[in-house]
């Protein structure tokens, strides 16, 4: 086929015009994406600022309610009706308190303001208290919560970041209860290894998690069944907070799950000294001096 120079030039300029148009379309899309990205960043930062600001405004009245409910329970100790009511109020306020702690610790994690506070605790009693605080919720589904302790007494004492430990275990428990079938059982066990690592396992016999979803459950706001008719409560933050806290404490979280048979979550936390010890690098070679005059 023979093409004249003019035809060739025309064809080329046509194609050039087309690619220019495609390029300008792409630039427009790109600019829109950048704008969108800015807006998303802004709303993300507004949200986390908002949360850290309202913290006290919410916690103070809630603590007052919890305290006053306890007082009423003591004053009216011999009135069965009031006792039932106050225990209901306590159960609900405890649930609210748990959810709020979750939200605030998420805000702290996102602001990079988490601190480690390690204390020596009697693990057995801490875990027993935690399990007890969920008995009320478990009873609604006729679930039994079983806590298995190591037999050696020494294993029951550990140095942990108490608050974070509580939040981690509470979330695993709440999750196990939520996804258990009525009348089942949830088993909690713990041990302290020779290397000082603390291992906590929570086993449920509920719906289980399909292999393809097993990583996704740690993302925030993810619940596997979505929509207005979803069967499960919660905001989908629990496991993402748990994961972020475990990461912060330089531990690990893993799960073994079979759909229809249940899930076993295992959290391993290294000894607190790893978090606490700022002198762990004392033998670290020479110190180099970097001040303002050092050239980059």
């Amino acid at each position: 086929m023979h093409i004249t120079d003019d035809e060739l030039i025309e064809e080329m300029s046509n194609r050039l015009a087309q690619s220019r148009k495609a390029f300008s379309d792409l630039s427009v899309v790109n600019r829109k994406l950048l704008e969108m990205n800015e807006r998303l960043k802004l709303s993300e930062s507004l949200r986390s600022n908002f949360l850290s600001n309202i913290r006290n405004e919410i916690n103070d009245p809630l603590n007052a309610i919890i305290g006053l409910t306890g007082q009423i329970a003591i004053i009216a100790a011999d009135n069965e009706e009031i006792k039932t009511l106050t225990s209901l109020i306590s159960a609900e306020t405890n649930r609210l308190d748990f959810e709020l702690r979750n939200i605030f610790v998420a805000a702290e994690l996102e602001a990079g303001e988490v601190r480690a506070f390690c204390v020596k605790v009697h693990l057995a009693s801490v875990l027993r208290d935690l399990v007890d605080s969920f008995q009320h919720t478990a009873a609604k589904k006729n679930l039994s919560l079983n806590l298995t302790m190591p037999t050696i007494q020494d294993d029951r004492i550990a140095v942990v970041d108490f608050d974070k430990f509580q939040i981690i275990v509470s979330n695993l428990l709440a999750n196990a209860i939520e996804f258990s079938n009525d009348g089942g059982a949830v088993e909690v066990s713990f041990s302290v290894g020779g290397d000082g690592c603390l291992k906590i396992s929570v086993q449920d016999h509920g719906v289980g998690i399909a292999p393809e979803d097993q990583q996704r459950i740690f993302d925030r706001f993810v619940q596997l069944d979505v929509g207005t008719t979803r069967a499960h409560l919660g905001h989908g933050l629990g496991l993402s907070i748990t994961k972020a806290l475990v990461d912060f404490m330089q531990g690990s979280i893993s799960l073994i799950s079979t759909p229809g048979e249940g899930t076993l979550f295992t959290v391993i936390l290294p000894p607190c000294s790893i978090l606490d010890d700022e002198d762990s690098f004392s033998e670290a070679g020479n110190l180099f001096f970097f001040d303002d005059t050092t050239k980059a």
Binding site: A111, G112, A284, N286, A296
Partner: protein
């Protein structure tokens, strides 16, 4: 140099940020992680972050464990304690590719370094000191008022 007398100390954990308007001695331990110090020479105030991975993937919590979030939050934070953006200078440390960590092939250290310099360039904050890369961990100690940073090298740090 870094006297221990009456100076508040803060140990910076991975994935956190620290900036206060008073004199502090911030220390942290770095492997493949990066710590960026932003210092306002005029105000004599500074802050530091410590991130582990370059980019937040949009899932999980948006914590300063990720470089892009840590850089932005550190900048906002030092400005909130009274630093002026145009006075800021940066010092960047860490980003080693630790041998034996099993993570060498992902080149986390290198990617962290790239992210830090990229974002500082975007913010137009000059880098006045750096000690990055290599194969060994670091311990750094910074005085927030003088902006002086001490770097200890020589031993492979934990996987942070």
């Amino acid at each position: 140099m870094c006297s221990d007398i009456m100076v508040n100390k803060h140990f910076l954990f991975p994935g956190t940020i620290f900036a206060e308007p008073f004199e502090y001695q911030i220390s942290t331990i770095l492997g493949s992680c990066i710590a960026v110090c932003l210092w306002d020479k005029a105000a004599n105030r500074s802050g530091m972050n410590h991130f582990m991975l370059p980019l937040w993937n949009g899932e999980g919590l948006a914590t300063p464990k990720y470089g892009n979030i840590a850089m932005e939050k550190l900048l906002n934070k030092v400005i909130s304690i009274g630093c002026h953006r145009e006075n800021l200078v940066a010092k960047v440390f860490g980003g080693a590719n630790l041998s034996g960590s099993g993570l060498e092939m992902y080149m986390i250290g290198d990617r962290n370094i790239m992210l830090a310099f990229q974002m500082l360039e975007e913010y137009r904050i000059p880098v006045v000191a750096k000690d990055v890369g290599g194969r060994v961990g670091r311990k750094i100690i910074m005085n927030t008022q003088t902006g002086v940073v001490l770097v200890g090298k020589g031993r492979a740090a934990a996987s942070t």
